[in-house]
């Protein structure tokens, strides 16, 4: 599974990062973000692309697992 770290990035940068990554067409990606807006926006993008998203929160970080 492809791992991406978008901590420290503000919107729309995390969405731009996942959009570029998803051009490889993998079945699963994992991305860590550190703010609520990034978590919500990356979730929306992944769902728009047909992925199912699960979110794991650890402290202030959110790790999103996106699977097709």
């Amino acid at each position: 599974m492809k791992q991406l770290d978008a901590r420290g990035l503000s919107c729309p940068e995390p969405v731009i990062m996942i959009r570029q990554a998803m051009q490889s067409g993998d079945a699963a990606y994992e991305m860590t973000v550190d703010n609520h807006a990034a978590k919500e926006n990356v979730t929306r993008y992944a769902e728009h692309q047909g992925y199912t998203v699960t979110v794991r929160q650890e402290g202030g970080d959110y790790t999103l697992t996106m699977q097709k």
């Binding site: 919107c11 729309p12 731009i16 703010n35 609520h36 807006a37 926006n41 929306r44």
Partner: protein, 339 residues
């Protein structure tokens, strides 16, 4: 005009998306000692667009300020938009702006020409509004900022607050939503230049024409839709008026390109702050993207006003690009309903 440094790259967040959340502001100011004056008919406690101080039987003074980081790279356009946005608070109170002061923060990366173009944009809009920029204050800092402090006048009996909507009113919105989403998606290069040109033109459009129409009708309440989004500003109006506001999702105007971009997650962080602040009861079947657009922070957005339903059609006929977006009822279990 071409600039060596992209203005928006110098800013962390764009336009009214930079606005601090309403809840955060209230908590910051809680408990401060303030003087009271019966002539201050609209003060901070009303969460309104500007404060209003009655000078005499014929004249009330409106005072307001607004500034934000660059939302567009063209400095002239940025100046126009920031000024139109600041002047709008006077129009939202039913008044006319007369005096303005520049508020400007420049950075070392900005050339003299860029700074001058920003100011020229501000002067251009102040001139169009019939207001005089009589001074200002400029500092150097980490991020560009521009806006105006504006003084305007209104007849004391014609002050339009955001807390006086009445059951039986219709609600009219004068500019389409989606500005925050489109400026965010534009940073990712996903919006065509022609679309952004339309959006920038809208943001630079004064709310003067709308104000000049609505003063001819028995408007009860008015605000402008800016950083808190349509739902945030509607929530303030509903709470302040002690009524319930019903917004009809299928009547709300928005830039057509913005809906799918909202669904793709190109939302400014402010949209989520607004979602936390304005609790809305949304009917089943209204898409998340449509709800997101209703929370989208607008920079230099339109006026949102309440007037008797029987006058809404005639008023609408005189407004370009406006729509009847909802209605007001006696308080329900929720102050704000998206249906």
């Amino acid at each position: 005009m071409e600039t060596q440094v992209k203005l928006t790259k110098l800013a962390a967040c764009a336009g009214c998306g930079a606005k601090v959340g309403a809840g955060t502001l209230a908590a910051l100011l809680d408990g401060f000692k303030t003087r009271t004056d019966p002539r201050l008919v609209v003060g901070y406690d009303k969460s309104d667009d500007a404060c209003v101080y009655v000078v005499n039987d014929d004249t009330a003074l409106i005072s307001t300020t607004d500034f934000f980081p660059p939302i567009v790279d063209d400095p002239f356009l940025y100046g126009q938009i920031a000024a139109a946005n600041a002047l709008s608070d006077v129009y939202a109170m039913g008044g006319e702006p007369k005096l303005a002061l520049n508020l400007l923060c420049t950075t070392e990366a900005m050339t003299k020409e860029v700074v001058q173009e920003i100011l020229r944009g501000g002067y251009d809009k102040a001139y169009e509004a019939g207001a005089i920029i009589a001074g200002g204050h400029t500092i150097q800092g980490a991020e560009p900022l521009y806006g105006l402090a504006v003084t305007g006048f209104v007849h004391p009996e014609k002050v339009l607050t955001n807390s006086a909507a009445r059951p039986g009113d219709a609600l009219i919105l004068t500019k389409p939503l989606g500005v925050g989403v489109l400026t965010t998606a534009a940073k990712a290069g996903l919006v065509e230049d022609a679309v952004m040109a339309r959006v920038y033109r809208q943001m630079a459009t004064l709310n003067k024409a709308a104000r000049d129409v609505l003063v001819d009708f028995a408007v009860h309440s008015c605000t402008d839709v800016t950083g808190f989004g349509l739902l945030g500003h509607s929530y303030e109006m509903a709470q302040g008026s002690g009524c319930t506001i019903h917004l009809r999702a299928d009547s709300i105007p928005y830039h057509p390109e913005s809906l799918e971009l909202a669904d793709m997650g190109f939302l400014p962080a402010g949209a989520y702050r607004n979602r936390e602040y304005a609790k809305v009861r949304a009917a089943a079947g209204i898409s998340r993207a449509m709800q997101d657009l209703c929370y989208d922070p607008q920079t230099s957005g339109g006026l949102l006003f309440a007037l008797p339903e029987g006058q809404a059609g005639a008023c609408l006929a005189r407004l370009e690009g406006a729509a009847i977006v909802g209605y007001v009822t006696e308080p329900d279990d929720s102050p704000l309903i998206l249906e």
